[in-house]
């Protein structure tokens, strides 16, 4: 496409940045630290797990501008076209006065070694803008993606609860300058395809979803980059080339959530955070589970489409979506096709997605009013951890008998997989403990899990089948869930 723009443009704190010498694998963190010498943002892990590199990215959405925390270490520079990047250096006032979030941390002894602190400042800053007077739980969720090894977190929590005492979010520059910044970003956006490269490391930002099909047609070998929460590690950990890389995080067309009578259809570019808006109303059973996917930064970056297309056997969303009977639509220049999500996963590392195709949308049936639904995730650490086992259940019960059963697991096989023998052992049987006991014996026919550093095969098998018992007991009203603050 001859009209392609060959530079990316974004706002960095208060200044415009235009870069043409950008490789697909360039990270935002390296650009900040090495290119801009903004060294307040730290590298702790280079894989999006510690949060020391947390910055805010303002992106235009639905005509507005949303600031979200991201991990700069795995956020790719090219993806920031027409965004506003805000680093810790932007917070302190010109006269040296600390920002309310910063002052609260100082007053509460919220830093010790200080290395995680800039990242924690940025996560709390994002929280403060949306929720100036947060609850303890709000703070814990906001800090799921920030590790601190010194403080034990208590003074950080105390500081977060006191932020509002130090100033009003309404007075914050990012809040009251939002329309001005939006205008500036709009003025950077010429609607063109963007192609930038360093030597042979090529990044392409298609102009539209239709253009994405064209780009993929031209580059069938391309790496598709959505949130880069996994692709980022290919770069930082495996030093793999992703060129040519096609970015789609900027395509609002792929970020639509459409509710119809029987289903919710989401674009493949919908992030975990965006999807939260339908969790409470449509999929309440996933509420607790959803907040345990990654940390806040990862949920702001990562997309449900990426979680599926990536094909991991331990992705969080596939079991939940398979149990609900979700389908996926794949598109290319030659057309579209739709298939059940469970059929998309063929084998380990093999998905039903042809070259030149991309995952366009996911259709999720709404649960019926009497359906029994649950998603359970088991991990070594409760938050910001990868599942050792994830089990999702959707049952309909009629006249005391199990009418239909869709049960899917992650972490139990080489791909996300339905427990068809367990389902068969349930369907048509009375919904009783006896039936559940018998069905639990069927797990061995469905799954032969592996041992790795997350869990042994024995533990996966045992805890996996116990989840069915939990599911049953929970619907009998038995307390089976651990909750915070349950001190006797």
């Amino acid at each position: 496409m001859s009209s392609a723009r060959t530079e990316i443009r974004f706002l960095l704190n208060g200044k415009d940045v235009c870069l043409s010498d950008v490789g697909a694998s360039d990270t935002l963190l390296d650009h900040l630290r090495l290119g801009q010498r903004l060294t307040g943002t730290k590298e702790g892990c280079a894989e999006g797990d510690c949060g020391a590199c947390t910055v805010l990215v303002g992106r235009r959405m639905g005509g507005g501008l949303v600031y979200e925390t991201v991990n700069a270490c795995i956020r790719l520079l090219a993806s920031l076209d027409c965004c506003h990047v805000v680093t810790v250096e932007h917070l302190v006032h010109a006269d040296g006065t600390l920002h309310p979030v910063q002052q609260a941390l100082v007053d509460h002894h919220g830093s010790q070694c200080g290395f995680c602190t800039p990242g924690i400042v940025m996560s709390l800053y994002a929280l403060w803008m949306s929720t100036p007077s947060p609850t303890v739980q709000d703070v814990e969720v906001a800090l799921q993606g920030n590790l601190c090894r010194c403080t034990g977190y208590q003074p950080i929590i105390d500081a977060a609860l006191a932020m509002a005492e130090h100033g009003s979010a309404a007075d914050d520059a990012l809040v009251h300058e939002r329309s001005v910044v939006t205008e500036r970003l709009n003025s950077l956006d010429d609607g063109a395809r963007v192609e930038v490269s360093r030597e042979t490391d090529l990044a392409i930002l298609p102009a539209s979803a239709a253009d994405l099909a064209v780009v993929l047609h031209e580059h069938p070998e391309a790496t598709i980059v959505a949130g880069s929460t996994d692709v980022g590690l290919w770069i930082t950990k495996f030093m793999r080339s992703i060129s040519p890389a096609v970015f789609l995080g900027h395509l609002e067309e792929l970020q639509q959530i459409v509710r119809t009578a029987d289903r919710v259809t989401i674009g493949s570019g919908v992030t975990y955070t965006q999807f939260e808006e339908v969790i409470a109303s449509e999929f309440a059973h996933m509420g607790e589970f959803w907040s345990r996917i990654g940390g806040w930064q990862i949920r702001n970056m990562g997309t449900i489409g990426g979680n599926i297309a990536n094909g991991s056997p331990i992705g969080d969303t596939p079991p939940a979506l398979i149990a609900l009977g979700a389908t996926v639509s794949l598109a290319s220049r030659s057309g579209k096709r739709t298939l059940p999500l469970e059929d998309f996963f063929i084998a380990y590392g093999e998905q039903d997605c042809k070259p030149r195709e991309f995952l366009e949308a996911i259709q999720i049936p709404r649960p019926g009013p009497g359906d029994l639904n649950a998603v359970y995730k088991i991990s070594k650490r409760r938050d910001e951890d990868i599942s050792s086992v994830c089990g999702a259940f959707s049952l309909t019960i009629a006249d005391g008998l199990v009418e239909t059963a869709r049960i899917a697991y992650g972490g139990m096989a080489a791909k996300p997989k339905r427990a068809s023998h367990v389902e068969a052992a349930l369907v048509g049987k009375p919904w009783t403990e006896e039936t559940v006991d018998r069905a639990m014996a069927a797990f061995a026919k469905d799954f032969t899990p592996l041992t790795d550093w997350r869990a042994s095969a024995e533990y996966r098998a045992l805890s996996g089948r116990n989840l069915l018992r939990r599911f049953y007991l929970e619907h009998q009203g038995e307390p089976v869930r651990l909750t915070r603050s349950t001190a006797a």
Binding site: G44, T151, K380, W453
Partner: protein
């Protein structure tokens, strides 16, 4: 001067961390943030992929040809000694020679124009290794008679054989205790600048600048006076930067001298975790004899540690496991042996507690064994076994416990945490609840303070007063987040009675204070605070002499009052007074020194007074466990901890909270996992899980025992605080254990090993259910 006037930021006040405002603004400079001189090069290490084998081919041609590469370094390029052993054992090569002994062992370094160039190039090496059998696990190491990496220790008192034989009850079992990665947020880094002649200056993220200095000189074959090592702050250390930084510093310095350019070396997090040592894993076997009351009569224990391929600090670490194998309990007859086992893993090293936690945890296990065996509340068993009066006050290493404050501390905590009523409520809850079970435990800590290598218990400081009255403070301690610099500055402010902001805190450098000890063993403020006070007192003595003479007043009429000096009836501002002293040619600089008195240790005999004093604390933890999956929550923690007369209660509380949560991570979710090839597979935060904010107990009551005052003449009667609180987390492990025990009606000791991951908890539940 009114009687109420006090200086700002003196001792015993909640002064904030001196760098807090820089931490929150991103302006605190860590080594990777320093401006790089033009021409700075970057080094990267090439690591062994095999756990054990003989190198048959090392082909670096592709590495050398890679973009940006300036050169490579192997053991053949080392002009001095290919060794960074911290104890002079010569068993810790910078680069492997013929043999690789663990996965992750450095074989070479590549130097390139950018870090990315160097890192990519390092991956292009072709290394062929003739594999040899590798031993990862400590039990296997003992089975196959792998050697000790250093001399074991035995502590013995009384007649164990007879006392054990005569005990009404005896239990013999073992306990596995996992290791722990430090996971300092700032990884290892060194930045070296070549100087004239043999000189080199290294910025190193180290707790032990003097050792880095000496080892850089050792590797380069130069003298210590050619090497200057600097560190302003570390982004966390926890023992992981005591002996480990020397490798990185030596390679950076070697490259800087070789190529005549500044060289920075910063490994990726995964390489940092694979190539540097961790807390030792232990396999402890114990036999305990006791009576009907639960009173211990005899203990016979062996403490075997996975030390890795070299000694590093494994000698003193395994020694300290024995020093704390009693925790707070009197063992009338006792024999304790250490087994520092060689394994084909990275050489394990210091980590907060330094082996002490791994010894202590088995003391608590034995208490549990006794309690479940006799059907008693474990707290009751603890109480009958605490150190007491004469006859019950001597440790296994023959030191008399003179400062035991646990009875008061425990009874206060027991009351404030409502231990008895909550335990009753939990027993009732567990009887009624099928899936979610709860547990509650109160565990104590008694921790010996002093380096067991007696000569390390010395420190130096350098204090200048400039003629405008501003004060420059330097000492051998390093700042890793613990607030040491703030505390020592508070001491100096108190000495001169000036506001804290008159004192400039400066980075640690071997050029100002020589031959320092590591900032370790919780000793930082004890040692450096005293050394700084000594320097200040020397200057004060000269100032008093000067004023007494000049104004013809008795010396006791020269008094340092808040920001003022009173001479007879006259008062001058501190600045005015200093100016006068300068004009009168008073020497306004002093090097201070301190050595801990009264300590001595005969390792051969296993006798002495290795510790100047003990720090105490106790915690009550409550947990909930899901018996279907083994998942759990820590619901509430109450801590009462002894820091003597606190120099800074806010900072001390921070150490207690942080230490506790770190200890909780060690005992719960932090799991090191090696595969069959001997490769560590939990080497990044995606796979190695340290606690998050949401793991912290939602009810977390932390208090200092405010009545406590060190009976020894420590700095302002304070006590060390760095390590002891970590061990308060034993209460979490034991509370989990109680919840597990509930499935078998508390009749069986669950013998829950650490880390008690959800898997470990569920498997223990299954074991108890099957046995029941």
């Amino acid at each position: 001067m009114s009687a109420e006037a006090v200086i700002k930021g003196g001792v015993h006040t909640d002064e904030r961390h001196d760098s807090a405002h820089k931490h929150v603004t991103g302006r605190a400079e860590y080594i990777d943030d320093m401006m790089e001189p033009v021409g700075t090069l970057h080094a990267y290490l090439g690591l062994s992929e095999q756990a054990h084998g003989r190198i048959t081919k090392l082909d670096l041609a592709d590495v050398i040809e890679a973009p940006g590469v300036v050169g490579v370094l192997t053991h053949e390029d080392i002009p001095g000694h290919n060794d960074v052993s911290p104890t002079g054992k010569n068993d810790d090569p910078v680069f492997a020679e013929a043999l690789v002994e663990f996965q992750g062992q450095p074989i070479f370094a590549v130097i390139a124009e950018t870090r990315d160039n160097a890192r990519r190039a390092a991956s292009l090496a072709k290394v062929d290794t003739a594999k040899q059998h590798h031993v990862i696990d400590v039990a296997e190491a003992m089975d196959v008679d792998y050697p000790h990496v250093t001399e074991p220790l035995k502590l013995e008192r009384g007649d164990v054989g007879a006392a054990m034989a005569g005990a009404p009850h005896r239990i013999k079992a073992s306990q596995r205790v996992g290791g722990q990665d430090h996971f300092y947020l700032e990884g290892h880094i060194a930045f070296a600048f070549p100087g004239e002649d043999d000189e080199v200056t290294v910025y190193s993220s180290t707790q032990h600048p003097s050792e880095v200095q000496h080892l850089v000189a050792h590797v380069l074959g130069i003298r210590s006076n050619d090497v200057t090592v600097n560190v302003r702050r570390m982004g966390g250390a926890f023992g992981g930067k005591e002996s480990q930084p020397a490798l990185f510093a030596a390679v950076a310095a070697l490259a800087a001298k070789r190529f005549g350019r500044a060289v920075k070396l910063r490994p990726d997090r995964d390489d940092d975790m694979i190539a540097t040592g961790k807390r030792h894993d232990f396999l402890n076997t114990y036999e305990v004899g006791f009576d009907e009351d639960g009173r211990i009569l005899a203990v016979d224990g062996t403490y075997a540690a996975r030390c890795g391929f070299s000694a590093d600090l494994s000698g003193p670490v395994t020694d300290r496991a024995l020093f704390h194998a009693d925790n707070a309990y009197f063992y009338p007859h006792v024999r304790l042996k250490s087994r520092p086992m060689k394994t084909n893993t990275v050489s394990n090293t210091a980590f907060r507690g330094f082996g002490g936690p791994q010894g202590l945890i088995t003391a608590e296990r034995m208490i549990e064994e006794i309690a479940y065996h006799l059907g008693k509340d474990p707290l009751e068993v603890r109480k009958v076994n605490f150190y007491g009066d004469e006859g019950r006050d001597v440790t296994p290493y023959h030191q008399t416990v003179q400062d035991n404050i646990l009875p008061q501390l425990i009874s206060e905590l027991e009351a404030s945490a409502e231990y008895a009523s909550r335990r009753q409520a939990i027993l009732e809850h567990n009887a009624a609840s099928h899936v979610i079970k709860k547990g509650l435990a109160l565990t104590p800590v008694k921790f010996g303070i002093s380096f067991t290598a007696t000569w390390f218990n010395q420190a130096g400081a350098l204090v200048h007063i400039y003629n405008d009255g501003s004060i420059h403070l330097n000492h051998g301690g390093t700042e890793m987040g613990q607030g040491l610099f703030t505390k020592v500055a508070q001491v100096v402010a108190d000495c001169f009675q000036v506001d804290l902001d008159k004192i400039k805190i400066t980075g640690t450098t071997t050029g100002k204070v020589p031959n320092t000890s590591a900032t370790a063993a919780s000793s930082g403020s004890d040692l450096n605070g005293m050394a700084a006070a000594n320097a200040a007192d020397q200057i004060k003595a000269r100032l008093i002499d000067f004023a007494a003479e000049k104004y013809s007043v008795p010396e006791d009429q020269v008094v340092f009052e808040p920001n003022t000096v009173r001479i007879g009836n006259e008062r001058k501002s501190f600045e005015e007074f200093i100016k006068e002293a300068y004009m009168a040619r008073v020497h306004l600089s002093a090097a201070g020194f301190y050595k801990t008195p009264e300590i001595h240790w005969d390792r051969e005999a296993g006798k002495g007074r290795p510790f100047y004093y003990f720090a105490y604390g106790a915690a009550v933890s409550e947990v909930s466990v899901d018996t279907l999956t083994g998942e759990y929550h820590v619901d509430r923690v109450d801590i009462l901890h002894d820091v003597g007369r606190s120099l800074n209660p806010a900072l001390d509380k921070g150490q207690i909270e942080g230490g506790f949560v770190q200890g909780m991570g060690w005992l719960t979710t932090e799991e090191l996992w090696w595969d069959e090839e001997g490769r560590l597979r939990t080497h990044a935060p995606s796979t190695y899980k340290i606690p998050l904010a949401s793991d912290r107990p939602p009810v977390f009551n932390v208090n200092l025992a405010e009545w406590s005052k060190n009976r020894e003449a420590t700095i302002r009667r304070s006590k060390a605080v760095g390590e002891p609180p970590l061990m308060l987390a034993a209460s979490v492990l034991e509370a989990l254990s109680m919840a597990v025990a509930s499935v078998a009606d508390y009749k069986v000791c669950p013998r829950l090993d650490a880390p008690a991951t959800p898997e470990c908890v569920l498997m223990a539940i299954e074991r108890l259910r099957e046995g029941a």
